[in-house]
Symmetry: C2
């Protein structure tokens, strides 16, 4: 494979785009090595996405699950962190163009992830927002909390019902977590706080076109998750196709569900940077990377995490989860260090330690390859793993205290709506000018 | 004074507008009494405003200093909390009109506070935002943190200097706290995190037209505060008039200060509801209330907190601080309970326990009437009092841990900018459509 000849005395320049799990673990593997690294992200923080649903459901504050990227990497003196939007990559000139400056590279790691996708129905986004970023989470929190406020002053039975109906579309881990957390909010946290409504009467409906919840888990664990969701009074409807989403609710094949709050947890599409590199992409826009994670045709460019389709290991794409991105990021970084020394790059191999999903208090499923289990043990394993991987000791302490507190009181510490009362769905013309 | 005749069996209806210190302490005094209470606020939370500057300077998260009003009052079964915007008061029909419904009242407590005012220069707000609400605090946090990010990628010396210059206009408690906190951020918290800039070289300039900082304190304490600010490398300029504020900086009489970040901490004007009641208002738009806190001409309407000018006690208006609002709220509530029983209302008397201001780590001033002191003792007293008065045990624990953590590490737990990189001052047309 190609190596880069350096003029004497200068270190190879590595640019990393994206400060999520992939980009951050790449940067950590390059820290204090003989390379000069620039990490570019359009936000100033690394977001611990697995806990994002807890921000959306008022359990945690944004600051609890986000850390400034430059603070995480402060001891890596060979790494500069730049907050800027990337406008394009020029693989011929070997330059990354941003909103502030252009950054030349010898090696590039693209780790810009994915956003949720609406399978061609982008107009649904306004009525059924998804959950990828902190602004997304705060928007969902606003809608969920406002639904109960709206119900409290509803003038008629039908608007009361619509306000107390929550539809979650997509029964993967995010959808299951959201449905479970909204159920706890309605049926536990809020019950004493309202005078006109019974929040416990709220309907939480979890829809998926697939035949079972958590389809990436084993059928046995799906069944367990389904049972646990029913215990929490979540209405699970699998094998159910969504035909349309409007400001009034969700149209199914045989039924219209009136709902003020609809949440999108189905489908992803890769970051648009994937297309710019000219290589082959899959249906979700993901780059079909080489075995060493390089981008076909560009031996100096590596792609890691949710932007990639890596099917070499199992014949199926690796799932879009944090451990895959972390291992890919570190591997791409090690390959760059090898190439910079004239050594060949190595194949990537994902080491799968297992999968877990939480459903709610004392509820979850875990597949640790050798054993599989559901219920309280799975839930506790989930809590423990997420606490350990959360970046920053202070955040770990804060989150731990909030979880303990919530366990004993059912209270949630971040039940606030920023700013004044606004409609759930702002007028189209206003949305257009608000940058996401 | 007038009493309200009730039809038999119905309890007097009390409406409270505003869930700040005044409204909340009124509600607490009416909890589980023989009245029916509706508290209306346009947000869903009570905000502990004395710590708002710590949200603006990335020390605390919004959830740490805000609690849902209905959760605080959940055990007061005679109180309903309504999230709605108030559109007007009809004192003849005795109705409060809101964005959702109209609420009739027998007694009304108006506790809608004040916002910052620009002395007729409303166009300055875009360039020098103030600090009253959570959206204000998040906007200031965004600007302050983005200033350092912008400096890191600055292309020339003059834009670098402007990015690292912070001007705080107004040297009352809020201005002093903001200047001190930005100094700590620049000169301690951020020093290891940047590669191109020395954040310690940032200039923090505190301006006031008055001849001394903290003019509501004694001259001795003002002098102490001034000295402590100088120790923190804050440039204090008293007796300095601001002639203009633009996107480029601040125009003084003899000098233009180029600054990317300008913060407004001078001047208040009362909530516009004050004017609607037809009584006399002062230059800041505050209601000149009667001795019993009722509004002249409306014996069933009381006004409390920052919306009032109460000069009966000292000849000067009572200051716009939390203890005044708390005592006024409770007093108005007790007067309503007296009036409802056919008893006369009583004069309000403010019991002043003292004044404190914090400046920074180990720095502050305190006037406890019998003794006055500055430095570490004042700072610790300030921390203790604010921790005790903060609403909610969980919030107290969270804030306490963050303060301890910050004390030993200099780190700040909420250093995040929501969403992608945006200009400090968005284009005018975009601002117009974004509700504050």
């Amino acid at each position: 494979m190609e190596t880069v000849t350096q003029t004497s005395g200068t270190k190879p320049k590595v640019v990393i785009i994206g400060g999520g799990f992939g980009g951050l673990y790449a940067a950590k593997a390059l820290a204090n090595q003989v390379v000069e690294v620039i990490l570019i992200d359009r936000t100033n923080h690394h977001l611990f996405q697995p806990l994002l649903y807890q921000v959306a459901t008022a359990g945690l504050s944004p600051g609890d699950i986000a850390q400034p990227i430059r603070h995480i990497l402060r001891d890596a003196k060979n790494i500069s962190v730049i907050m800027a939007g990337v406008e394009g990559i020029d693989p011929v000139a070997k330059v990354v163009r941003t909103t502030t400056r252009d950054y030349p590279y010898d090696f590039l790691i693209v780790a810009t992830g994915a956003r949720h996708s609406y399978f061609g129905h982008d107009d649904w986004e306004m009525f059924a927002p998804g959950l990828k970023s902190l602004p997304d989470a705060l928007e969902l929190r606003r809608r969920i909390l406002l639904a109960f406020e709206t119900a409290e002053t509803a003038r008629d039975e039908s608007s009361l019902q619509a306000a107390l109906t929550f539809v979650v579309i997509g029964a993967g881990p995010t959808g299951v977590e959201m449905a479970g957390a909204i159920s706890e909010l309605a049926k536990r946290t809020l019950v004493d706080d309202f005078r006109q409504i019974r929040t416990g009467h709220a309907r939480i409906i979890l829809l998926d076109a697939a035949p079972r919840v958590l389809p990436t888990f084993t059928p046995g664990l799906s069944k367990s998750a389904h049972e646990q969701l029913k215990q929490m009074e979540v209405e699970v409807r699998v094998g159910t196709k969504v035909l349309n989403v409007t400001g009034e609710g969700v149209q199914l094949e045989n039924e219209f569900i009136s709902a003020r709050t609809v949440i999108w947890a189905a489908g992803n599409s890769a970051s648009p940077l994937a297309k710019q590199l000219g290589g082959e992409t899959d249906r979700q826009g993901r780059i079909l990377v080489n075995q060493d994670l390089s981008v076909p045709g560009h031996p100096q460019i590596f792609a890691v995490g949710d932007i990639t389709n890596f099917s070499h290991q199992t014949g199926q794409p690796l799932p879009g989860v944090a451990p895959v991105a972390m291992q890919m990021g570190a591997h791409a970084a090690r390959n760059i260090l090898e190439l910079a020394q004239g050594q060949p790059s190595k194949r990537f191999k994902y080491f799968n330690k297992g999968n877990m999903a939480t459903i709610g208090r004392n509820k979850g499923v875990a597949d640790l390859n050798v054993i599989r289990f559901g219920g309280v043990a799975a839930w506790m394993s989930w809590l423990l793993v997420h606490l350990v991987f959360l970046v920053g000791l202070r955040n770990r302490i804060q989150v731990f205290i909030q979880w303990i507190w919530a366990y004993f009181t059912y209270a949630r510490g971040a039940r606030l709506i920023y700013g004044p009362f606004k409609p759930a769905v702002p007028p189209a013309e206003q949305r257009a000018t608000n940058e996401r």
